[in-house]
């Protein structure tokens, strides 16, 4: 293909849809490498410490869209100290210097300071899309900078961030000339916003299709907004609490009826059953529904609502839906692809809300189900085997039995056979989270059958090193492995050290690996960063030179071409 002019090669590369394919063609020859890098518009960095930002920017100067992920996944569950790292600033600085044409930035689990947002806002005249997921470190002041300086902003999407509220002014910083917004999500903001500014902003953005309000936005304001923006496709309601004023309620219903394009609803903060009928007019069109922040909507009211949502593809609910409610889902939502059932009682001490019955019902009634997140109080092997038979097309299967290490309550057996059936039947399974009482046997099954598996989460499972070895030897496509509270030690860790260079990362906490084992791994594999995280409290006698036999509490291993990082805090040792 060397006789094709480069413009033609570039056009051909345009047809490559995935990062993987583009990465692959860049390794063919020097010409292709050059063509690919100069025409690359979008880069995804799965681990911000795997490569230096300057290097990315130097290689792809025409970058328009950058996605970077920071902390390991278990940071979501408070297993990673807050100041472990994952700073956005170096990325924004490098892009400001090297890719002035940047239009989109997506960050997940990173620390983003207001100064970083200000730099971002001022550095890219064409900046259009900012998505921050599970980030922290910034405040509404940073948002004000984005609103003020990003003249052609299309998307501001804040999902589940820990952000400081410094007042409602930020929303008023969108200038009157800003009419380009397509998507605005500030649902995670804790404080008030100025209702008038919000209404005006909505009114002057005719292309607005996604709007997710926060808890502080009243139903009155929501009504007015719906009246101004009947073309919304995706709505996150605010507090959705209506008091006795019938007039407000009727206005709301009337405004909902006008929203013929509405396909996705979320929010419902503080919603009570009384308000639900307001959305009945549009239920029949909904493809997405998130009621997982509405604990006061239970039982019969929930069922009544779901019975009207026959087109649902994505449903997020709390476990107070019960097995009965899930049976209704199974009967009604024949298009369902993704189901998430969250625990309403987060410490898992309450009455059993959903069990294996609900899951079996959904698996049998919803033929298109491919993605599951299910928190329940118990699960049986028989149920899992049935689910595996009913739904061989699962790509994501995450089951969390709230009581760690709980066996099948009917047979008292571990759940090895059940999960084994899942991995054997679901040939396209890419993501799996295990729970319940599990022995090494389940890992034998996973190693044998889970060929497409990319991410595996293990907690309180396994008997011996053999378990982990089965997985490392068997799962050819494994990218991320995260393990907690399981009896895997140095022998397993060091069985196949080369494997870790084929993976993005390995996390192990409260397992049996020792400092010596980690040091050995680090010595053998220079292109891995082996991080040991030592959070010491005062009672700890651990000094500067702990013995190699000392068990390591938290270990994070990842491949990198950037070498050891230079921003690690004191308690993180890169061996």
């Amino acid at each position: 293909m060397t006789y094709f002019p480069e413009e033609v090669v570039e056009r051909i590369f345009d047809f490559l849809a995935t990062h993987r394919d583009r990465n692959a063609v860049s390794t063919v020859c020097k010409t292709w490498y050059r063509v690919e890098r100069l025409s690359r518009r979008s880069v995804f960095v799965g681990n911000c410490y795997a490569v230096r930002p300057e290097r990315v920017v130097a290689r792809y100067p025409r970058l328009r869209s950058l996605t970077v992920k920071g902390k390991p996944h278990f940071a979501d569950f408070n297993l990673v100290p807050h100041d472990w790292g994952g700073f956005a600033l170096p990325w924004i600085e490098a892009a400001a210097r090297g890719c002035p044409g940047l239009e989109e930035l997506r960050l997940k689990r990173m620390i983003v300071f207001d100064e970083s947002l200000e730099l971002l806002a001022r550095s890219f005249p064409n900046f259009k899309v900012l998505v921050l997921i599970s980030c922290e470190g910034f405040s509404t002041d940073g948002l004000a900078a984005i609103a003020t300086y990003c003249r052609v902003l299309r998307e501001l999407d804040l999902q589940e961030n820990e952000m400081e509220d410094r007042g409602p002014q930020w929303l008023s910083c969108f200038p009157d000339s800003c009419t380009s917004l397509v998507s605005l999500n500030f649902a995670c903001l804790k404080g008030e916003v100025n209702a008038v500014s919000l209404e005006r902003l909505v009114a002057r953005c005719p292309n607005l299709r996604t709007l997710r309000l926060n808890r502080a936005v009243s139903v009155d304001t929501l009504s007015k907004i719906l009246a101004r923006a009947p073309h919304l496709v995706d709505l996150g309601t605010g507090s959705f609490t209506i008091d006795h004023r019938a007039e407000a309620y009727h206005k709301l219903i009337n405004n909902f009826i006008k929203c013929k394009s509405l396909r996705s609803l979320s929010g419902f903060w503080d919603a009570t059953p009384r308000c639900l009928p307001a959305v009945y007019p549009i239920c029949g069109n909904l493809t997405g529904l998130n009621l997982s922040y509405a604990p006061a909507i239970q039982g019969a009211d929930l069922i009544k609502l779901i019975r009207q949502c026959s087109k649902l593809q994505r449903l997020w609910v709390l476990d107070c839906i019960g097995d009965k409610g899930l049976a209704v889902v199974a009967n009604t939502c024949k298009e369902l692809q993704e189901l998430r059932v969250f625990p309403s009682d987060v410490y898992g001490e309450g009455i059993a809300a959903v069990t294996e019955e609900g899951l079996v019902a959904v698996s049998s009634g919803c033929p298109k189900l491919i993605s599951l997140l299910y928190f329940c109080h118990q699960m049986t092997n028989a149920a899992l085997i049935t689910v595996a038979k009913n739904c061989p097309q699962f790509t994501r299967f995450r089951l969390c039995i709230l009581d760690p290490g709980k066996p099948d309550p009917v047979t008292n057996q571990p759940l090895d056979e059940g999960f084994g059936a899942i991995v054997q039947s679901c040939k396209d399974l890419r993501r799996l989270s295990l729970s319940g009482h599990l022995t090494d046997q389940v890992f034998l099954y996973i190693g044998m059958y889970a060929e497409r598996l990319e991410m595996l989460s293990i907690a309180f499972a396994g008997d011996s090193d053999k378990g982990m070895v089965y997985v490392l030897n068997g799962c050819k496509n494994l990218r991320k492995l995260e393990i907690r509270d399981s009896p895997f030690g140095d022998a397993a860790l060091l069985e196949d050290v080369g494997k870790y260079e084929t993976m993005r990362s390995l996390w192990m906490s409260s397992c049996d690996v020792t400092l010596g084992g980690c040091k050995t791994l680090a010595a053998k594999m220079p292109r891995l960063n082996v991080e040991v995280i030592n959070e010491m409290d005062e009672s700890d006698e651990l000094e500067e030179n702990p013995s190699d036999l000392h068990r390591v509490e938290k270990m994070y291993v990842y491949r990198t071409v950037a070498g050891p990082r230079n921003d690690a805090p004191d308690f993180v040792w890169t061996l």
Binding site: H244, T272, A296, D403, P404, G405, P407, T439, S457, D463
Partner: protein, 205 residues
């Protein structure tokens, strides 16, 4: 949801608050009623309270709700489930954002008919209706619990616990499961039974 020590702590805190303010401003009941009636469990909703109580304190068996531990379980040494059901860091795997969002502010005002000012209680610190009543009894020390109501034995008046829910309706305390009550209660009012003619009856489902 609350352990015994938390309950004791919250009672102590309420006593401290009471001492600071109550005596000089004349809350109903000047002196402590002797011997609170905590043994009385013949209440209509004590079953409700027990149902929603869930497990309190710490269980030491793995496999929690199961009957006898099977030999398989004990011998296999499988996994590393925590020895107690005491809260394990990061388990269940729910994001803090979600945990915080669902934990709405559960402090509610408590008004007593005839009292010059209100108190506040944190509903989350109680594991059920019975604990709530006990706390109210201790907060307004003239009261004794009798059959879902709070009775001022000295004055001979009794008070029915009612609450305003998120829809703005005034409801009788005790009808719905405890957790649903905590999620929907906006404020409490101890209503003199002589005024309680229009209490919302239990809503049919």
């Amino acid at each position: 949801m609350s352990t015994m020590s938390e309950m004791e702590r919250s009672s102590t805190e309420m006593e401290v608050g009471y001492e600071e303010t109550a005596l000089t401003l004349g809350l109903p009941g000047g002196s402590r009623a002797g011997g609170s009636d905590q043994q009385e469990r013949k209440h209509g909703f004590s079953e409700t309270a027990d149902l929603s109580h869930g497990s309190s304190g710490i269980e030491t068996r793995r496999g929690g709700d199961l009957g006898d531990e099977s030999p398989d379980c004990a011998a296999s040494g499988a996994g590393r489930p925590p020895a107690s059901k005491a809260r394990v860091v990061g388990w269940p795997p729910v994001r803090s954002y979600r945990k915080n969002a669902l934990r709405s502010c559960t402090y509610v005002k408590v008004a007593v008919d005839g009292a010059p000012y209100l108190r506040k209680v944190d509903l989350e610190t109680y594991s059920g209706y019975h604990q709530l009543l006990i706390a109210l009894q201790e907060m307004f020390s003239c009261f004794t619990i009798r059959d879902r109501r709070l009775v001022d034995l000295v004055k001979g008046t009794d008070y029915i616990p009612t609450y305003e829910d998120k829809d703005g309706d005034w409801m009788l305390v005790g009808d719905v499961p405890w957790k649903m009550f905590v999620a929907s209660c906006k404020r409490l009012r101890l209503m003199k039974s002589s005024e309680a003619v229009n209490i919302a009856p239990r809503a049919p489902q």
